[in-house]
């Protein structure tokens, strides 16, 4: 990836999440810690939602979707464009962009991905990698590289003060919202027949076929659903920083670290590792400044050393 430097710079300059990195004035380390934790949960929410999508797509289709970061970016850019063109704000963008990204995922699977499913998984990896370059460049051409503005939604732009702890309202919202979505997805996956089929097919699609499950029928909706989650994470992220064509490029790298830590093909692993990485990044930002990303990859290396198949991965999943 040649332009690594500007991407990283943009990424770091971007998120207003760092607004909280003011020195703890009241001398309370606890306050800072609570703020970093909340920041971590909000950040983790973006990772968890997107990684959840990546995990079900990998599980059911066997596709490592490299374009997941680009889809996350499209969710955010879509929200910004929606606001600019129609005046519809965040609360509209949240459902509309999620539906739009679901449809985008369905189209992507029907038009492109499905034709390569029978071949070596590498082909779809290359396809989605190529698609990423294309989508990022299209957005750059149309909207420039400097980024689109996206305001904090009205009502969530303040701060919540609890004693000595002052928290950004939007961060509280983002953390609670993404945890709720993860819980809702979890309930659907564990309490419904469709969820049972998706879990079984995520674990072993071939075996599910041999037991009479028409896995192919679920391939398109699952792909759309995974992309929709990436888009949702993007919309949720939009108000926290500048919306740029490159915002997905670094995100996808972290996302792969999340998936490796959680265990490729594990749904629970994706969610847990998502929040874990978010927390590690936030504590890193808070206590060790520019080394924050280093800690994520140190965590990944540690997990690979101790449990090569990830925290929740099974041995089969690793092979």
């Amino acid at each position: 990836m040649p332009p690594a430097r500007p991407e990283r710079a943009a990424y770091r300059a971007g998120p207003k999440l760092e607004n909280n990195r003011t020195a703890p004035t009241t001398g309370s380390h606890m306050t800072a810690f609570i703020q970093y934790t909340l920041q971590g949960l909000a950040l983790g929410g973006f990772y968890a939602l997107a990684a959840l999508g990546l995990a079900v797509i990998f599980g059911v289709l066997g596709v490592v979707n490299f374009s997941h970061g680009a889809c996350y970016m499209l969710g955010a850019v879509g929200a910004a464009v929606l606001l600019d063109a129609t005046g519809l704000g965040f609360w509209w963008a949240l459902p509309l962009m999620t539906i739009a990204m679901f449809l985008f995922g369905v189209l992507m699977e029907r038009l492109l991905v499905q034709w390569l499913l029978r071949l070596d998984p590498l082909y779809n990896f290359l396809l989605t990698f190529g698609l990423t370059l294309l989508l990022v460049d299209v957005v750059k051409r149309k909207y420039g590289v400097s980024g689109l503005p996206y305001p904090l939604p009205a009502g969530l732009d303040g701060r919540i003060t609890l004693g000595a702890v002052s928290l950004s309202t939007y961060q509280v919202f983002a953390a609670v919202f993404s945890i709720s979505v993860c819980l809702a997805v979890w309930l659907v996956l564990t309490k419904t027949r469709v969820g049972m089929i998706v879990r079984a097919s995520t674990e072993d699609a071939e075996r599910s076929r041999a037991l009479g499950i028409n896995v192919s029928r679920w391939v398109t909706p699952v792909f759309g659903f995974g992309i929709a989650l990436a888009g949702l994470a993007g919309v949720l992220r939009a108000p926290t920083g500048s919306v740029t064509a490159d915002m997905g490029s670094f995100f996808i790298i972290i996302l792969f670290a999340v998936v490796v830590i959680g265990g490729l093909g594990s749904i629970l692993g994706a969610v847990v590792a998502g929040f874990l990485v978010g927390l590690v990044e936030a504590y890193g930002q808070g206590y060790a400044g520019r080394f924050s990303q280093v800690f994520i990859f140190m965590l990944m290396a540690l997990v690979i050393l101790v449990r090569p198949s990830g925290l929740f991965g099974r041995e089969e999943a690793a092979s």
Binding site: A200, E203, R209, L211, G212, I213, N214
Partner: protein, 238 residues
């Protein structure tokens, strides 16, 4: 529930490849309604590939497989399962992310008349009821084998493909699996059984096909198989 006359598995001139390597050559075999037939042969003889080809999981094949009068052709594994073919893989194929009960409930019912109810499964395998909320892979090897068999019985499958069900299990459990096989045979269900444990195979089977290097080299009924077991095994290099 007695054998249904047309329910015959017929494998005709089946050859299978892995890439360039040919693993099955011109295999012909037949399983009659309510018959238990074993495939005997040493490791690498092509037994598992044969079962996988019948199930539609191994696709690099030539020749024909028909079941209950239908030529299966290129039909997918899930269609074959819905046509009443039940698959019990050699690794048992229990889902770790599904509870014991979910493992049982996952495959759709293919024949209401033959399907075992959950009550009947639990009556036959009390341990599965005790552990129904455990993750499937928390069961012991023998229990997982019971679960894998119970899972296809619950769908009402009329032909079971059992891949080494006795492998690595204690004698008591092997006996129990033998009982189940005899019981489902009485129900008119056909069984194609891959087995290394020849003694066990002889206690349940009507006929045996001997496989060597991807070919059927002998077909014997159980009596003539038992009287010459050691000679036949030597011939197979087992």
């Amino acid at each position: 529930m007695t054998p249904v006359p047309g329910e015959i598995l017929e494998v005709d001139g089946l050859s299978a490849w892995y890439g360039e390597a040919r693993v099955l050559t011109d295999v012909n075999l037949r399983v009659a309604p309510g018959e238990v037939v074993t495939l005997v042969g040493r490791n690498g003889a092509g037994k598992t590939t044969l079962l996988r080809s019948v199930m539609g999981l191994h696709r690099q094949v030539e020749g024909s497989v028909s079941w209950a009068g239908q030529v299966l052709g290129r039909s997918s594994a899930d269609k074959r399962a819905k046509a009443g073919i039940g698959w019990v893989p050699d690794d048992r194929g229990i889902y770790a992310t599904l509870s014991v009960q979910e493992n049982l409930l996952l495959p759709p019912i293919t024949s209401k008349a033959d399907a075992w109810s959950l009550e009947r499964v639990y009556e036959q395998f009390p341990v599965l009821q005790e552990r129904r909320d455990f993750p499937g892979t928390k069961l012991s090897g023998g229990e997982q084998q019971m679960l894998a068999i119970a899972r296809v019985l619950r769908t009402g499958s009329r032909l079971l493909l059992l891949d080494e069900p006795s492998e690595g299990l204690a004698p008591v459990i092997v006996q129990q699996i033998g009982d189940i096989i005899r019981q489902i045979k009485d129900q008119g269900v056909s069984v194609l059984l891959v087995e290394q444990n020849v003694k066990f195979a002889a206690t349940v089977a009507d006929r045996h096909y001997l496989l060597a290097q991807g070919r059927v080299v002998e077909s014997r009924d159980n009596d003539s198989f038992q009287s010459r077991t050691s000679e036949l095994l030597e011939y197979l290099g087992m």
